[in-house]
């Protein structure tokens, strides 16, 4: 079901779901190559299962969890979300997954935990893109605990009603639709709870261009791309980018009082 906020988001009522073919053949997943078409080709032999996720840090029982231990029996969500890439293109993708907050409840972090950090699989044998040091591997991303517990935040295991394709981050990825796409870390093997703001990969690689928060914000220009407009994949004319990618109702309150120009 589409979230109420998604359907209501004014200017974007004409959101049409991006063709599955486009969403699965146009990917930024540098672990499988830096070209947009590379991941589909280079990830085709990747075997995601069996999968386990190491839970670490400020949490009741730090230990490895199997895929089923982590997600099993949690209510599965259907969410149609806009995805806005920092490169100024966007898609609309139907995801299936569980709310991250349900997983967090299951894992029982300590009250001292303020951030949650995710790490992608590091295995250059299975992820050929990691044989070149394009980014400081492994890929890491993180959220503040309130962001992680926001009901929009999803740990996706599927899209278009099917298991998550390898090139889209199988078997388990993060989806935070009000943030630029690079926050949506793929093929997660580690979840760590911590009280310090973790380093994140793109921020490490290029701090002047990519911040920790990475909230979609048409008023804060990226040094490389104008962020005021975006091209929806499959459309010709650019459309205006909305504050928080159109999810301001659900997320803006988390950032009240923060200077979003500094905390980009």
């Amino acid at each position: 079901a589409v979230l109420p906020g998604v359907a209501r988001a004014g200017a974007m009522q004409d959101d049409k779901v991006t063709p599955e073919e486009d969403a699965t053949s146009y990917n930024n997943f540098y672990e499988f190559g830096t070209g947009k078409e590379d991941p589909k080709e280079q990830a085709k032999d990747f075997q995601p299962m069996p999968w386990s996720v190491n839970v670490e840090g400020m949490v009741k029982t730090p230990r490895p969890y199997t895929f089923d231990e982590l997600l099993g029996k949690l209510p599965v969500q259907d969410r149609v979300y806009r995805m806005r890439c920092v490169e100024a293109w966007s898609m609309v993708i139907p995801w299936q997954g569980v709310q991250l907050k349900d997983v967090i409840t299951r894992l029982q972090p300590l009250p001292s935990a303020k951030f949650i950090e995710f790490t992608t699989l590091l295995d250059p044998k299975r992820m050929p893109g990691q044989r070149r040091a394009v980014l400081p591997w492994p890929y890491k991303e993180a959220l503040r605990m309130d962001e992680a517990n926001n009901s929009l935040t999803l740990l996706a295991t599927g899209m278009y009603g099917k298991a998550l394709p390898n090139q889209n981050g199988a078997p388990l990825r993060l989806v935070t639709p009000w943030k630029y796409g690079f926050k949506g870390i793929k093929s997660i093997v580690k979840i760590r709870f911590t009280d310090k703001m973790p380093n994140t990969t793109w921020n490490d690689a290029n701090p002047s261009e990519y911040g920790f928060y990475a909230n979609v914000n048409p008023t804060v220009d990226h040094p490389r791309w104008s962020q005021g407009k975006e091209r929806r994949i499959g459309e010709f004319l650019r459309r205006n980018t909305l504050m928080f990618n159109g999810y301001a109702d659900q997320v803006a309150s988390m950032y009240s009082g923060m200077d979003l120009r500094k905390n980009y």
């Binding site: 947009k36 490389r224 010709f236």
Partner: protein, 219 residues
């Protein structure tokens, strides 16, 4: 100049122009066909933008390669290919700019203006193109006669600035994996390095031998 590869010279001279024409024009129907057959991926505009820019840079680098090739072979007639390749680079750059203006931004002048002012790689791309305009306009034999060899050469030295700007435009247009821009940047750097070496060479030799080399086309 003395011809160094006499056996090769006649066939190359015969075929070089048709071959270059093919090379310059062929990507157009190929790209149009790919576009119509939906072979340019999920964001065909972005792909067209990249590919047209890449062809412009390739021909720009090729035009810079002519003078070293002339020195190597002693084939003075190659100089005409230099202008041909320069024009090819200009028209591909024009195509690249058209994709950007029409397909990417659809004449959204406000956004285009902001893009040029705020994003250095766009500024440099525009600079690279604008510098090519006077070169394209004076690419005829009549222009060379009118301006005279020395002035024409001096004007066309702008191609060096344009090429350097184009290379940085490419490097900064890329998000992280700069393998390709580094490759083309290295090619252009090597081709420009020839000019620097020749200039130093000439300066040191003109101290011992008094002779006016200034009036010869230097590329």
């Amino acid at each position: 100049m003395k011809s160094r590869f006499p056996a090769l010279e006649a066939p190359v001279r015969r075929w070089v122009r048709p071959a270059l024409w093919l090379l310059v024009v062929l990507p157009v129907p190929m790209l149009v066909a790919q576009l119509l057959l939906n072979q340019l991926g999920a964001d065909p505009i972005d792909k067209l933008e990249r590919l047209s820019g890449l062809w412009a840079l390739r021909f720009l680098a090729a035009s810079l390669a002519v003078t070293p090739l002339m020195r190597l072979t002693g084939w003075g007639w190659l100089v005409a290919q230099r202008r041909f390749l320069g024009l090819a680079a200009f028209f591909w750059a024009l195509g690249h700019l058209s994709v950007y203006t029409v397909l990417d931004w659809f004449f959204d002048w406000a956004e285009i203006g902001k893009d040029i002012v705020k994003h250095l790689y766009i500024t440099l791309g525009m600079l690279a193109f604008v510098l090519m305009i006077p070169l394209a306009l004076t690419s005829t034999k009549a222009s060379i006669r009118r301006l005279g060899g020395v002035r024409w050469n001096r004007l066309h030295a702008l191609v060096y600035v344009s090429a350097i700007a184009a290379c940085f435009h490419f490097v900064w247009a890329v998000k992280k994996d700069i393998t390709q821009p580094i490759f083309y940047g290295t090619v252009v750097a090597v081709l420009l390095a020839f000019r620097v070496v020749w200039r130093i060479d000439r300066r040191s030799s003109s101290r011992s031998v008094s002779g006016d080399t200034q009036s010869k086309p230097v590329g």
